[in-house]
């Protein structure tokens, strides 16, 4: 904050460009006669690509009078969430057409959600943080209810909205408390004020707990996970993919930044909370998924569990831990996008099917799809040499380094329980008698599944660049 009056608005160029592209697409969609979904989607993809290039070409700095910060951490997270958003958008193309959801607002809503997320990752002030969260959330509420004639989708949208509004309220209340007891919303100022944990006022601590609650809702960690299975199940599947990838990255970015930078010195006050949330998420994610018959609900519990594992890396409050979370998030985004690509491919006679039993004998009827799904399942279970193993490796390493043994031991044991339901899907596909074949899948699905599958399988050959990037990003927070 050496130059407080500095605007430095070019730092936010990717966000600005993306927002302008979004508005342009809106105008284009309204003016164009006939179905504008496909061109709008392509333009949105182009916008994501442009934003990704712009993000990569930023130089770190602070702008908007200290409200907006670009550092290697935010750049890392932005690239990752753009990748997740782009993958979900590609997956939506054919699905929306087949399900009669072809409306050009879909990519636009996604785009504005992404703008919100990018602002979240760059927030260096409580106001910016809240602004980003709300921009993202409002777009996501609409997306969840996008299949508006479908009762389940409407229910999902409403549920997400009511609970999301509550979480936003809690977040805002926490921000207010922190501001009231410390007199500032600026992260850098807060960091300086809270250097000595013993002098921190209890009001600030209560505020931190509220902020944490709001953010834990966004990453669907236990006990703020209630909405996840219903929303995952009810929302159109491409929206579920989107929910499982980009917003998780953005919310995790916020959690990491807020907990490490302004409240980093209060580690002693919030560490136990994170440990408990992490353990609860891992246990619930593992046990809750066992009884599921709907694969989207199963994935919801799986993502709750994954967030539990990722939070292991936050608990130590060290750069190594944050590095672990970041590696985990890379791996998680590609794994989830791939698994959902396989789920979207589950269509029979023109209708999407979601029961796990529908996968029966897939290895015989569609070996390629079965192989892809099996790779993602084994990877999510954390079986080496697939990428999921490396995600777990780095968070467990951080936990072990900080002596958080209980967390590490519970983590590995729940991963065994989790392995059971992932294996169950492999069992249904490989060991059971074949059911009727699925419809021919569109090329876009095969492309996403193959690309993410190759990433997941061969991550072990070239982990160094990803781990090093995560390392550099994590250092920026400390």
């Amino acid at each position: 904050m050496n130059a407080p009056a500095l605007m430095n608005w070019t730092l936010a160029l990717p966000e600005l460009v993306l927002a302008i592209v979004g508005m342009a697409i809106l105008v284009f969609g309204v003016l164009r006669k006939g179905d504008a979904t496909f061109p709008a989607s392509m333009l949105t993809l182009g916008g994501f690509l442009l934003a990704a290039i712009l993000v990569a070409s930023r130089t770190p700095g602070v702008g908007f009078n200290g409200q907006f910060e670009v550092d290697s951490f935010s750049m890392f997270m932005k690239e990752l969430l753009l990748a997740g958003a782009a993958l979900s958008l590609i997956l939506s193309l054919d699905y929306n057409r087949q399900e009669g959801l072809s409306r050009f607002e879909f990519p636009v809503l996604m785009l504005f959600a992404v703008v919100g997320m990018m602002i979240m990752t760059s927030a260096s002030n409580m106001m910016t943080l809240y602004l980003g969260v709300e921009l993202q959330s409002l777009s996501l509420y609409v997306l969840a209810a996008f299949a508006r004639d479908d009762a389940r989708s409407t229910e999902a949208g409403l549920k997400y909205f009511v609970l999301g509004a509550l979480a936003s309220g809690l977040l805002l209340y926490g921000i207010a408390l922190v501001y009231g007891f410390s007199g500032t919303m600026d992260f850098a100022e807060l960091t300086k004020l809270l250097t000595k944990p013993e002098t921190a006022s209890p009001g600030v601590i209560v505020g931190v707990v509220f902020i944490l609650t709001g953010l834990m809702f966004k990453i669907s960690a236990v006990p703020f996970h209630m909405w996840t299975p219903d929303v995952y199940e009810g929302a159109p599947t491409p929206v579920t993919v989107f929910f499982a990838t980009a917003p998780k990255v953005a919310a995790m970015a916020l959690v990491l930044r807020v907990m490490s930078t302004p409240f980093g010195h209060l580690l002693g006050s919030w560490q136990l909370l994170i440990i408990l949330i992490s353990i609860a998420s891992m246990i619930l994610g593992a046990l809750g998924a066992i009884g599921q018959t709907n694969i989207k609900r199963l994935m919801a519990y799986s993502s709750i569990g994954h967030m539990g594992y990722a939070l292991i890396g936050l608990a130590p409050g060290t750069p190594e831990g944050v590095r672990g979370v970041l590696v985990y998030m890379i791996v998680y985004v590609f794994m989830s996008a791939g698994a959902f690509a396989c789920i979207i491919a589950m269509r029979r006679r023109g209708r999407a099917v979601e029961q796990i039993s529908e996968l029966s004998g897939l290895a015989r009827t569609d070996p390629g799809l079965a192989l892809g799904m099996a790779v993602f399942m084994f990877s999510m279970a954390g079986v080496p040499p697939l990428s999921g193993f490396f995600g777990k490796l780095y968070v467990f390493l951080a936990a072990v380094q900080s002596g958080l043994w209980a967390l590490a031991v519970i983590g590995v044991l729940t991963s065994v329980v989790g392995a059971f339901y992932y294996l169950r899907i492999v069992k249904v596909m490989y060991f059971d008698a074949p059911a009727e074949a699925f419809d021919r899948r569109p090329a876009a699905l095969s492309f996403v599944a193959a690309a993410t599958g190759l990433f997941t399988t061969f991550f072990f050959i070239f982990p160094a660049p990803f781990v090093n990037a995560a390392q550099a990003a994590a250092k920026a927070l400390f």
Partner: protein, 514 residues
């Protein structure tokens, strides 16, 4: 560059995968694909076997350290590298794995008719994982191979297995996985402590005794399940009974050795104090395994289950040998591991021969096979005797050395451990009498055919090796003489040296006592 002049270990590790890619890229109708898959798998595994013989020829038995070492940077910032190498302890297991893979391919030649291509692919992947695990000199690499074995084995049991294959496959996977993840934590703790996951460095690192206890328990969780030791052996009979013949062979011959190899490679040399402290515990479990599972084997009605229980008993002898910490004991354990690898593999193949013809493993379904199948009866007797430890066969040398080693530790240990030989003779001879001898009364056995040339080709190398190992064991023990001697010496030194005690608790306790 290493002794061979080229990265031979990486080549034999990864070549099977190349074969797998070839298999998967074959197009055509089902019969073409199947026959292509068979031949590609056979040739790949034979080439790998031929390449691995370079190790046999070029390995320097006088050198106790690692040979054929190769290293590639992988995650240099974290002290993780792709490092491969073999010493006297691991080299023969590499050869065992490369020998058994072509035998398994050959044994499944006509038997497997469903998804042949995927089946052969699984065995080639399995070979990569097994060889890689025995060659790995980096902890992370080791763990990847160690765990990677689970996936192909899970699929082999689950897809080509018997009626209860799903239950068995899950049990196999989850038991082993649960043990391994605890080992992962130990791995991370050691990695953090030493700053590197290079096993050659870890072997020289001293860990504080309090930490050793926990590390030992974590390793124990993994290796005890894999060996398997009583009472965590229950997955083994299930997995063996349901797995296809070749799957059982690999399971018994190589996968069980991974646990014992882990004890030899990690627990004993890296955690000497904890190993000594836990030795009585291991001895107790091993003796229980030897006696209890032998009795259980005696009561079995299913041939595969009987052999599976006998495996648990034989591996009990191995763990006794390892924890004697003397040259005879460890050499005996290693020899017993090799011998069991060949003999138990052959025994499962023997069961597979009649199972392929009659489709039953019930002992009571058979009787008097010697009349119709003289060659089969001969092979049956040979491996049965080798399993009993008859002098002149490979089984004798290992058990004898272990008993000699155990005698130096404790008379009762040697006595109770040696009881396994007697009980082994009991259940094996009983099995032999019921299957091979007696009167040929069953109608469908009157037309049963003797071994085909393909089956003879499968058994011949195993029979030769069994006799060779029994008659002239030195050609095998010479490989690990130096390494075992160095290991025992290292252990004695570690135990004699003042205990590294950074916190000074031991010193303070000692002062307090005076």
């Amino acid at each position: 560059m290493n002794e061979a002049g080229f990265p031979v270990l990486s080549l034999i590790t990864w070549l099977p995968l190349v074969g797998g890619v070839v298999i998967m890229s074959v197009r055509g109708d089902e019969a073409t694909v199947a026959s292509n898959a068979r031949w590609t798998a056979l040739w790949t595994s034979l080439i790998v076997l031929a390449l691995s013989l370079i190790l046999w020829v070029k390995f320097d038995p006088t050198e106790p350290g690692f040979q054929f070492v190769e290293e590639v940077k992988w995650l240099p910032e974290y002290g993780v590298g792709y490092k491969m190498g073999v010493d006297g302890i691991s080299v023969l297991f590499v050869l065992l794995s490369t020998l058994l893979t072509p035998i398994c391919v050959l044994a499944s030649w006509d038997v497997i008719t469903k998804s042949v291509r995927e089946y052969m692919l699984m065995f080639l992947i399995l070979e990569t994982m097994m060889v890689g695990m025995f060659c790995a000199l980096d902890f992370v690499v080791f763990y990847i191979f160690f765990e990677g074995v689970l996936v192909p084995m899970f699929l082999i049991i689950g897809i080509w297995g018997g009626p209860r294959r799903v239950y068995s496959a899950f049990k196999f996977f989850l038991f082993t996985f649960a043990g391994s993840v605890l080992m992962l934590l130990a791995l991370l703790a050691m990695w953090f402590q030493a700053g590197t996951s290079d096993m050659t460095v870890l072997l020289k690192t001293q860990f504080p005794p309090a930490m050793q206890t926990w590390l030992f328990l974590a390793f124990f969780a993994s290796f005890a399940v894999k060996v398997p030791m009583w009472p965590v052996h229950t997955w083994l009979p299930d997995a063996h009974v349901e797995a296809p013949t070749a799957g059982s062979v690999i399971l018994a011959a190589v996968l069980l050795k991974m646990g014992a190899y882990g004890f030899l490679r990690f627990s004993v040399p890296m955690l000497p104090q904890a190993s000594v402290a836990f030795a009585p515990f291991i001895f107790t479990l091993s003796v229980v395994a030897v006696i209890y599972t032998s009795y259980v084997a005696l009561a079995q009605e299913d041939m595969k289950k009987l052999i599976a229980y006998s495996s648990v008993a034989h591996m009990g002898v191995v763990t006794i040998g390892i924890f004697t910490f003397n040259i005879q004991g460890i050499q005996g354990a290693l020899f017993q591991m090799l011998s069991h690898g060949i003999v138990s593999g052959a025994l499962f193949l023997i069961v597979g021969v009649v199972y392929d013809r009659i489709h039953s493993r019930e002992i009571s379904r058979y009787g008097g096979l010697a009349d119709r199948m003289p060659v089969y009866a001969l092979v049956f007797m040979l491996f049965m005797m080798a399993a009993n430890g008859l002098p002149g066969t490979s089984g004798f040398v290992g058990e004898f050395l272990v008993i000699v080693g155990a005698m130096q530790v404790n008379f009762w240990l040697a006595l109770l451990g040696g009881l396994g030989m007697i009980l082994g003779a009991a259940y094996m001879l009983y099995l032999c009498r019921r299957v091979i001898f007696g009167r040929l009364t069953k109608a469908d056995l009157r037309t049963i055919l003797d071994l085909s040339p393909r089956e003879i080709a499968v058994f011949a190398p195993l029979a030769v090796l069994t006799l060779w190992m029994g008659i002239y064991p030195s050609s095998f023990t010479s490989f690990f003489d130096a390494s075992v001697a160095a290991m025992v010496q290292h252990h004695t030194q570690a135990m004699a040296a003042p205990v590294a005690d950074p916190t000074g608790i031991v010193v303070k306790l000692a002062q307090g006592l005076h």
